[in-house]
Amino acid sequence: MGMYEILFWFLTIMALGSALGVILSRNPVSSVLFLILTFFAISGHYILMNAQFLAIVNIIVYAGAIMVLFLFVIMLMNLNADTEPQKNRLVQLAGVISGGVLFLVILAALRSTPVIMVEKPSTNIGLIKNLGKTLFTQFVLPFEISSVLFLSAMIGAVVIGKREGSQPQ
């Protein structure tokens, strides 16, 4: 168990550290790079939990597509050094306190759940064959509806981003 635990703690510290780096860094580009590091750490956690399909999908979708979109938009707007003035100290303090209170609530909720004795869960849950079986038998309707959702999001993004005054044909 030694290697497992060392890897777990390493991934945890990397994920938490880079998440803090996303929030606290001044430069938006370094925030994006920290976010990519966070996604890789979380995908490592998924692999540790034997959810291989989700780890690969995570890397492809998040670190591959979404972060590239973010970088494109940041480069388009040329936000190099951070040009935002700080929010005043009171609002920052309120943000930190509300985040801390949320953390305490989550911790308290975790304390009071009974620890269910793990009854030897089957270790092939995360394999893509079993996941695909569940996905396409039990969850066919959400699957099709999510394709409609993608279509509407794509159309919406194009409509929002269209420039005014396009030439008439």
Binding site: I23, P28, L54, I66, L135, Q138, M154
Partner: protein, 81 residues
């Protein structure tokens, strides 16, 4: 915490992505604990929703940038006047 503290709209969107990812991690852990694979299917749909939301959110930010040439969210306060 990052959503409340920063004024740059892009960083707020990134912190929302962080929150969605944290929920995903939790659901995968629970799925492993209970031996139920429905949670991993939910994680999959969560990623779908996050990807669609990022696309639309970035389109809105690009539109805002074209109007006011800044991504400061305090400028949006002007909508109430």
């Amino acid at each position: 915490m990052g959503t409340l503290m920063r004024r740059n709209a892009i960083i707020i969107l990134m912190c929302i992505e962080l929150m969605l990812n944290a929920v995903n991690l939790l659901m995968v852990a629970f799925s492993k604990m209970h031996g139920d694979s429905a949670a991993q299917v939910f994680v999959f749909f969560n990623m779908v929703v996050a990807a669609a939301e990022v696309a639309v959110g970035l389109a809105i930010i690009v539109m805002m940038y074209r109007k006011v040439h800044s991504v400061d969210i305090n400028i949006l306060n002007r909508l109430k006047h």
